[in-house]
Symmetry: C2
C-alpha cells in the first residue's frame, strides 16, 4: 500500500494576512506524515510593482508578465514570501525547504506560445521531477514551492500556483496516495455565489458537468475545478477545496471532489 501525501495550495488572501498565515502554518506543520506546500502571492507582487513605479501590463483583461514584472515575481515569490514561510515552518518543527522549479530542475516548463495574446514570461508545466521530490520527502523534508518555474534554457517563468499544485499532485501519485487541498477565501464551491454558506459538499464528474451546464460555476472557479478533475483523472486520490479551517480539522465544511 502506498503512503499518504498531502499537498496544500494557499493563495494570496492567506499570505497577505500575517495573523492568518501564522495560524495556517502552525496547522500545516501539525499535519501528520508527508506533505508539500504550494503558494501564490499575486497581490504582494503587484504592491511591489506599484512601489517601483511599474504598472501591471494587462492585455484583454489578463495580466502579462514582462521582464520587469518577472523579476519582481521572482523576488517576491521565491525570495520574500517563500523564505519567510520556510523559516516560520521551521519554528513549528516542520523541516521546510523552499523551491522554485529551477532548483534541482524540479519543475520544467515551456514559455507559453503566443497565439492571440503574448502572456510574456509565463510557463506551462512540461515535467515534474518526481524522484527528487520523493528524495526530499523520504528524508523528512517538507518542500515549499512558489509559483516560479524554468525552461532549462536559463529562463525563469511565472507559473500558475494552482497548476503547480495539481501537476505535483499528479506526478507524486506514482509513489503516494495523494490528497490535494486548495485553500482559498471561501468554505468551498458555492451553489449560490451570493450565499457563502451554500457550499456544495461533494462534486463528482457528473455533478461537475451539470454545474457547468447550469452556469453555477463562476469564471474564477472554472480553471480551479478543471485542475482538480485533471488531477483526479491522472491518479490523485482526493481533492478538497475549502478555507483555512480545513487544515486544522478535515471535518470542517468544505467541498470534496472525486471522479465518482
Amino acid at each position: 500500500m502506498k503512503s499518504k501525501l498531502k499537498i496544500v495550495k494557499i493563495g494570496g488572501n492567506i499570505i497577505e494576512d500575517p495573523q492568518q498565515l501564522g495560524a495556517f502554518l502552525k496547522d500545516f506543520a501539525a499535519i501528520d506524515g508527508m506533505k508539500i506546500l504550494v503558494h501564490g502571492g499575486g497581490k504582494s507582487a503587484t504592491e511591489m510593482a506599484n512601489r517601483l513605479g511599474l504598472k501591471p501590463k494587462m492585455v484583454e483583461g489578463r495580466r502579462v508578465t514582462d521582464i520587469e514584472n518577472l523579476d519582481i515575481a521572482v523576488m517576491v515569490y521565491a525570495g520574500l514570501i517563500n523564505k519567510n514561510i520556510v523559516t516560520k515552518l521551521q519554528v513549528n518543527s516542520c523541516n521546510a525547504i523552499g523551491f522554485t522549479g529551477a532548483d534541482a530542475n524540479l519543475i520544467l516548463s515551456g514559455k507559453r506560445p503566443v497565439k492571440y495574446v503574448d502572456y510574456g514570461f509565463v510557463g506551462d508545466i512540461v515535467n515534474v521531477n518526481r524522484k527528487t521530490i520523493k528524495l526530499f520527502l523520504d528524508n523528512k523534508m517538507t518542500p515549499v514551492f512558489c509559483a516560479i518555474t524554468h525552461d532549462k534554457s536559463g529562463q525563469l517563468l511565472n507559473t500558475n500556483a494552482d497548476t503547480i499544485a495539481s501537476e505535483i499532485a499528479i506526478a507524486m501519485s506514482d509513489f503516494f496516495e495523494v490528497e490535494l487541498n486548495y485553500i482559498f477565501e471561501l468554505k468551498g464551491v458555492l451553489e449560490n455565489i451570493e450565499n457563502k454558506a451554500s457550499v456544495i459538499s461533494h462534486i463528482n464528474t457528473k455533478k461537475y458537468e451539470q454545474l457547468i451546464d447550469d452556469g453555477i460555476i463562476s469564471k474564477g472557479m472554472l480553471p480551479k475545478l478543471h485542475n482538480c478533475f485533471r488531477a483526479l483523472e491522472k491518479g490523485v486520490q482526493e481533492v478538497k477545496i475549502g478555507d483555512v479551517s480545513l487544515i486544522a480539522d478535515a471535518n470542517n465544511l468544505h467541498t470534496t471532489l472525486s471522479l465518482k
Copy 2:
C-alpha cells in the same frame, strides 16, 4: 581517503556584470566532482533600496540592516540573484539547488548581540547542517547559498557571505577534503596595493602574521584572511584567493593560503 569538495565564493563585482557572471557560471559548472557555490550581492540590494526610496542606514561607517533592508536583502539575494544563478547553472548541466540557511535549517545563526553598534538583523553563524548538505552532494546536486540565514525562531538574518563560505567549508571538512576559493576583483592578496600584479603567491601562518605586522594587509582584506586561516585551522585543506580566471584554470596567478 576523503573525496574532494570545492567551495567557491563569488562577490558582487561578478554578480553585477551579466557577461562575467555567465562566463563564470560556465567555468563553475565545468568543475569536476562535488562543489558548492556561495554568493553575495551587496550592490544589487543597495540599488533596489534606492529604487524603493530607502536610504542605507549606516552607523560608524558600517551598514545596519533594519527590517525594510532585510526584506530587500531576502528578495534580491534569495530571490532574484539566487534563482537566476540556479537556472543558468542548470543550462550548463550543473544540477544546482538554491538555498538560504532557513531551508532545511541548513545554516543556523544568532542575531548579533548589541554591544557598541546594533547591526540590526545580522546573523552570526552557530551551526551548519553538514549531514543534509552531504545528502544533496551525494545525490549529485550542487548547493548554491545566498547570504541569508535564520535563527530557527522565525527570523531571517543577513549574514556575511565570506563567513558562510568558510563555515560551510569547515563543517564539510568532516566528510570531504575541502578546497575553498574566494573569487573577487583582484588576482590575489597584493604585496603593494598600488600594483595589481604584485600578487603574493603563497601565505602561511607565519607570513600572515608578518603581513599584518608590516601593515601590508589592507582593511578590507583583514576579515577575509581571518576567515581563511580560521578555515585552515579547523580542517579545510586549502584556501585560494583570486579573480574569476582561477576557476577556469587553477594555474592562473592567485594566492594560496595554508597553515605551513
